[in-house]
């Protein structure tokens, strides 16, 4: 589904990604871990199409198609979803209206009519229930005054509504207490299928107890320096990142 080949990327002439290779197949869960500043969030932003990031070399293929020239919204229409580390507050737009607009714009891009209001309402109700989101919450302005946990839960709610092919969750576990983490992880697990894929970007192993990855990659200094199964995450939890840094820097 997603193939990243020798990806080099920079922001404001500062080179951050220095040759990433990654393949994610449908039905898989990948975790990308690594110390702060290793390029994890940059990788997420580059895949999602944030304009400030410049691809200097390499390719990102989605279902075999190079997506470099596509705008962020076109990538979204193709099924790329990024759960933001810091979701943006948008005063004056309610959660419900935002997600309605997002869904109908995506449908429009695919040549479909707006989703009938009745279906939309039912879907909103079902997905809100899945993530244990209160109805009142849905009429509030998007992310405005939300707690850290509410913001993250709202991200996963939107993911549930948009049913992406490739979901990238950037530090979704940060700022979550244990109950919220369980709810979010449960939501992600229920949305998983053989047709979609999840990339978890995280600093800690904690989330991976709830969403079990098929593969774990360690990103350091803009490169994937180690890959393995879920046991690699446990090893990192025990030993920290220093031994990897030493291996690489040696």
């Amino acid at each position: 589904m997603l193939q990243i080949k020798d990806l080099h990327a920079s922001v404001e002439d500062k080179s951050i990604l220095k040759g990433i290779n990654l393949e994610v197949k449908a039905g898989e869960v990948h975790a990308i871990m690594g110390p702060n500043g290793s390029g994890k969030s940059t990788l997420a932003s580059v895949i999602a199409g944030k304009e400030e990031y410049q691809v200097d070399k390499g390719q990102i293929l989605l279902d075999g198609q190079d997506i470099e020239e596509l705008a962020a919204e076109e990538r979204a229409h193709k099924g790329v979803f990024l759960s933001f580390q810091y979701p943006v507050e948008i005063p004056g737009v309610s959660v419900t209206n935002f997600i309605k607009t997002a869904i109908n714009e995506t449908r429009k891009a695919k040549g479909l009519e707006d989703m009938p209001a009745k279906d939309m309402l039912k879907m909103i109700r079902d997905k809100a229930e899945l993530l244990e989101i209160d109805r009142k919450f849905l009429s509030r302005s998007l992310n405005e005054g939300f707690s850290g946990g509410e913001k993250k839960r709202n991200e996963i709610f939107q993911m549930a509504m948009l049913e992406p092919k490739l979901a990238i969750l950037d530090e979704t576990d940060s700022g979550l207490d244990i109950d919220a983490l369980r709810i979010v992880a449960n939501g992600v697990n229920k949305l998983k299928s053989k047709d979609n894929a999840v990339v978890l970007i995280t600093h800690y192993q904690r989330l991976l107890d709830y969403i079990v990855p098929d593969f774990v990659h360690v990103l350091y200094k803009g490169r994937i320096v180690k890959s393995g199964g879920k046991e690699l995450a446990h090893e990192l939890e025990e030993k920290g990142y220093d031994w990897i840094k030493e291996e690489v820097d040696a």
């Binding site: 705008a71 919204e73 979204a76 943006v88 004056g92 997002a102």
Partner: protein, 437 residues
């Protein structure tokens, strides 16, 4: 002959058609003298520092249109709020159009200034209210000198006027250039409630200059809800001076929606002559090209225990320019005043500009006054967030701008009007999505 000379000399011709024994005659004669002495305001005056009238004064305006023009309702229906029943006072090139209007004398008076000024039945109201709060500045005086036509609305006490009243001025292009000077008087007696929508609409590319003056008097516990729709075409300019006199426990709201026109200057003045009242003025300005919109507001808190709320939003693109000059005066007597003012602006281009200037003159010591102004761009991180969720750039920008103006839009109390304003904004932003925010 420049416009000032032309107006001064036209006054004699105008007077020949008026009753010289009327008390208004003296008011008019006095007013033309004031205008003759002071002339049009220039940028040298502090209140006009950022707005030059030069570009609109250069045309050779007809002051009295020579012929009447008829308009077919179906051609201009779109300028009305037509999906609800309303009273209508409609003028074409400054002349009353009876076939487009729907006036009334049934318990309330919704009719014409021209008849109110001459008929004995209205004499008491005219003597009590006409030109009583309009100040003696040059443009208001100019309007007073030529005051003859406009809307006359008198709501006696304890009336809830169930239908909104629309006042619409059309310019047809019969004249190469046309100057209009409507004069409105609105008197709302105790416990009464009225909603009014005012619009100036040119149907031509010929230059039109409107110098409008409106006096509004709200007696005890009255509620006046006034909406100004300024979405005129590119050669039409408007100077609107509105004066509101409020008594005890009144609520007066003025919403100004400025989306079009060459130059717009709004002088909006509230005088709080009583206690426990609320004055609210809100506005949304969305302009582009070389358009210019200037909001010049004043709230004068004279007595204790009153509130005022000002909330103006502006979105400026291309080379458009905006001015917000908001003055709040709190007299020594006006303790426990709560006065709030906020002016937020988004500049969408490097060439667009806004000059915003709060002026607070506070002479009482136990008051709450706040003011804030912001000037910024659209939030890029919010745009990326929205695009990531599949909302295209144009729609994302529009949604952000809607959200920005939302709390002003939300306080519009006539649903059909709110829908209309929403549609106008969507059209201006080039999007076709029914955001029900």
């Amino acid at each position: 002959m420049d416009l000032k000379e032309k107006l001064v000399s036209s006054f004699l011709a105008f007077e020949n058609n008026q009753d010289v024994d009327s008390p208004i005659h003296d008011i008019r004669s006095e007013a033309i003298k004031t205008f003759e002495t002071s002339g049009f305001p220039s940028k040298k005056e502090e209140a006009w520092k950022y707005t030059s009238l030069n570009s609109v004064l250069k045309h050779d305006y007809s002051v009295f249109p020579k012929q009447e023009n008829a308009l077919d309702y179906k051609d201009i229906k779109k300028y009305f709020i037509h999906d609800i029943d309303t009273y209508k006072i409609v003028f074409i090139d400054g002349k009353y159009s009876s076939h487009l209007s729907q006036t009334t004398h049934d318990g309330i008076d919704v009719c014409l200034m021209s008849s109110a000024l001459v008929k004995p039945k209205y004499k008491a109201v005219i003597e009590n209210y006409f030109n009583k709060i309009a100040p003696k500045d040059s443009l208001t005086s100019l309007n007073t000198a030529f005051s003859n036509e406009g809307a006359y609305i008198h709501i006696p006490k304890n009336k809830l006027v169930e239908k909104p009243i629309q006042i619409i001025h059309f310019a047809t292009g019969n004249e190469a250039a046309l100057m209009l000077q409507p004069r409105n008087l609105i008197v709302v007696d105790e416990n009464s409630h009225v909603q009014i929508i005012e619009r100036h609409q040119s149907l031509t590319d010929n230059p039109v200059l409107t110098n409008s003056v409106t006096e509004i008097y709200a007696d005890k516990r009255a509620i006046v809800d006034y909406y100004k729709i300024q979405n005129d075409n590119k050669n039409a300019s408007l100077i609107d001076s509105t004066f509101v006199d409020q008594k005890d426990q009144t609520n007066c709201f003025v919403h100004t929606f400025s989306f079009g026109g060459k130059l717009i200057r709004n002088n909006l003045n509230f005088y709080q002559n009583g206690e426990h009242m609320d004055s609210t003025m809100k506005g949304i300005t969305i302009i582009g090209d070389k358009q210019h919109v200037d909001h010049n507001t004043l709230v004068h808190h004279i007595e204790p225990n009153c509130e005022s709320h000002q909330d103006y939003k502006g979105i400026f693109s291309d080379s458009s320019t905006g001015v917000f000059n908001g003055k709040v005066v709190v007299d020594k007597l006006a303790q426990k005043t709560n006065a709030f003012q906020s002016n937020n602006n988004i500049l969408l281009s490097d060439k667009a500009s806004i000059n915003t200037k709060p002026q607070l003159e506070i002479f009482a010591d136990d008051v709450k006054c706040s003011h804030g102004c912001t000037i910024g761009q659209l939030d890029e991180s919010a745009l990326f967030y929205m695009k990531q969720r599949g909302i295209p750039e144009k729609e994302a920008r529009a949604l952000l701008m809607f959200a920005f103006s939302n709390n002003v839009l939300n306080s519009v109390k006539i649903p059909e009007l709110k829908q209309r304003i929403t549609n106008i904004i969507a059209k201006k932003l080039g999007v076709n999505i029914g955001f029900d925010l």
